[in-house]
Amino acid sequence: MNDTLALLQKFNAHPDSRCWYVAWNPKGTLLASCGGDRTIRIWGREGDSWECKTVLQDGHQRTVRKVAWSPCGNYLASASFDAKTCIWKKKNDDFECLTVLEGHENEVKCVAWAPSGNLLATCSRDKSVWIWEVDEENEYECVSVVNSHTQDVKHVVWHPTQELLASCSYDNNVCVYKEEDDDWECRATLEGHTSTVWGLTFDPSGQRLASCSDDCTVKIWKECQPEEGTDAAWKCVCTLSGFHGRTVYDIAWCPLTGALATACGDDGVRVFKEDETADPDQPAFSLSAHVPKAHTQDVNCIAWHPKEAGLLVSCSDNGEIAVWNYQSGV
């Protein structure tokens, strides 16, 4: 293989606890991480290394499971097991808590900002997905509560260009939602995984969705052209199996290169490349790079840098964050 995945830096981000999630801000100048120690940490680049700039420690009473930056980069949302979602406003190097979104009955598992910046989605162990609207006065209001899943909802992700939302769950399914008459509804249920679906990511164009699961596979789904009057259907056009030894906890599609990275419960990080010669309706991916013991424990999250091609970050149950450089030989 000409393709390489080289470790640039590894550091202990959340001492004595799990690091659950990492997210780059839209400009790629800051990295937010969150963990089992109930804190959110903001990391900035100092020369070749990443240093902790801020620690947000009074926002949540339990584990912070995920963080998400607003498209403008001025706000950060954090989802916690304390059933709350905090919205933080960036003020120079510090953050202040603007508001707390309440309503979920128990652990909030994910929060995601729509590309427009006007909508936010959250999902929870209470099986529901909530869609919130932000108005000009920075007030957040719930516009829809959708109960399409029958179990814990693990992740929500917005389409890169359309107002379309996808969620995945312990019920083994992926749901796709659209707005109809001021109400959000589930328009498609993607069945196929044989165990919990942990993560979702859209390709750069938004035409395909990749999901990763406890069944150790990754599935690629494509929206089929609907017939007159019927809802769009999503079909599974590719399954990557035999590559992961354990649960695949996270997946990320690089917006710059189209490479697909995964975070696995076997402590490994993998990058897949799409075969250019394959039929677009039957894509094929091959394993381009693999670091078997990227961390000493489960890898929980993987994220591509939004501006710098090949720059990748991962985090683990051992509290560490690792920064990687992926280079494709082709």
């Binding site: 309440e102 309503g103 009955e105 529901s128 909530w130 209001e141 719930c142 516009v143 829809s144 509560v145 959708v146 109960n147 109400d183």
Partner: protein, 128 residues
């Protein structure tokens, strides 16, 4: 001769057992249905009363927020009114109840009212 007599005892024993099981099953089923039906109608009635109360409180208020909340209330109240109360075999019962519950949680979020009504209602769906 013995085997014929034994055979007929088997048949009769089976028939009596089956009839007894059917009878007991009907009694248990009726109790189960009544208990779940009562829980469900307690929940639906509570939701309806809650919704109507807020509708009364909000309807004379002309500000934008109140209008939004009233509009949000219309949906679950409408669903409850359309509920086929006399049709125990209604297939979409669970789905419609989930919709009503989701709509009420949205309304509670808009009204800033906590959704813990466990003192009044024990909801949660039917499980087997």
């Amino acid at each position: 001769m013995d085997s014929v007599i034994t055979q007929s005892f088997h048949v009769e024993g089976y028939r009596k057992g089956f009839d007894e099981g059917t009878r007991q099953g009907m009694i248990d089923g009726r109790k189960h249905r009544a208990s779940h039906g009562a829980k469900l109608s307690t929940e639906v009635s509570f939701d309806y009363g809650f919704g109507i109360t807020w509708k009364c409180l909000l309807q004379n208020n002309t500000d934008v927020k109140a209008r939004k909340r009233l509009k949000a209330l219309e949906s679950p109240l409408g669903l409850i009114l359309k509920f086929p109360h006399e049709e125990p075999q209604y297939e979409n019962l669970q789905e419609d109840m989930e919709k009503v519950r989701a709509k009420f949680r949205l309304v509670c979020s808009l009204l800033n009212v906590p959704t813990d009504f466990s003192d009044y209602v024990k909801s949660g769906g039917i499980s087997f």
